[in-house]
Symmetry: C2
Subunit: 160 residues, 2 copies
DNA sequence: GAAAAGTAGTTGAAAGTTCAACGTTTTCCA
DNA sequence: TGGAAAACGTTGAACTTTCAACTACTTTTC
């Protein structure tokens, strides 16, 4: 992307700037707040996401790489994180019989208890800190905007 | 926030869920993409933000704590980061004459060159990856939504 | 005007994340 | 069928971020 802007840059006008900055700033603070709310359950957002995904999976287990994809973590990051979560007793690892390279992350009873305890509070956080400020129409507009953003990122992924 | 939900949790309905997840997923990918685009200039988003804020400040210098606030970094994080940026030659530190506890972060000529080189590409990234997918009306709606979200976070800050 | 309380900023250690390299197993295809 | 290439997941090292403690200075309070 470097050096592709020989022409005069199209700087943001005030309205664009406001939309962009408000979005980016609110999003950071929102994430912080959700993370902080989850601390009451000794969970980070990433941990929550991992457990939530596992709890939706058949038999509450999932291949490491699939879990990494749906939880949007790098494989390496997931691998390190699962090591910690395993120590905490929320998940364990299980060799995959079909593919000897592979492993499953399996949610334990303790992990299930943790997510069941955390989920209502987390959903309530998402509501009070975010969804409550959106009308039905806002929800629709937002869904569409971010669908377009995601689609465009897929078409034009960053080159790393 | 823990234990405040003795009542049945108000789970998200499908429309709410879709709005929430699309927003959160697109936002993560968007941030990743912007960060990745900036790598061409050897800058992280945090570094960019620090340099951008400095370049707008009078004399291109700012007190550490003010800089931490506007760039949304903890003081400790800024302190560590400035150490690295100083080594890279983009900023230097300067003792504050009025308050002997204080320091200024001061942008160097090299820092100025770095931000001037990166800004057009970065703005272009923000456009192509985000703003281009928003109509004027979308911009307005988004500004208002995230203003409400920010206001509510101010009224009800996380307790850490 | 001195002690207490608060503010500015840094530090080192602990925890988390990225990156590149690696061993193992599977897939591809000539 | 055999060997190259790709995929799975882990690892250790480097780097980043957080956390709590700390020094140094300033402001408040009585």
């Amino acid at each position: 992307m470097a050096g592709q802007n020989a022409t005069t840059p199209r700087w943001l006008n005030p309205v664009e700037m406001k939309a962009w900055r408000r979005y980016i700033i609110a999003s950071r603070r929102l994430l912080e707040a959700l993370d902080s709310d989850l601390e009451d359950h000794e969970l980070s957002m990433a941990d929550y996401e991992v457990l939530a995904q596992l709890s939706d999976a058949p038999e509450r287990k999932m291949r490491m790489s699939e879990l990494a994809d749906v939880a949007m973590l790098s494989r390496s990051r997931l691998s390190h994180r699962i090591k910690v979560m395993e120590k905490a007793g929320w998940v364990k690892r299980e060799a995959c019989p079909d593919d000897k390279r592979g492993y499953f992350a399996v949610m334990t009873a303790k992990g299930w208890k943790a997510i069941v305890a955390a989920a209502p509070d987390h959903v309530e956080s998402v509501r009070t800190r975010f969804l409550d400020h959106l009308s039905k129409e806002d929800q629709r507009v937002l869904s569409e905007i971010f669908e377009r953003v995601t689609d465009s990122l897929k078409e034009n992924p960053p080159t790393e």
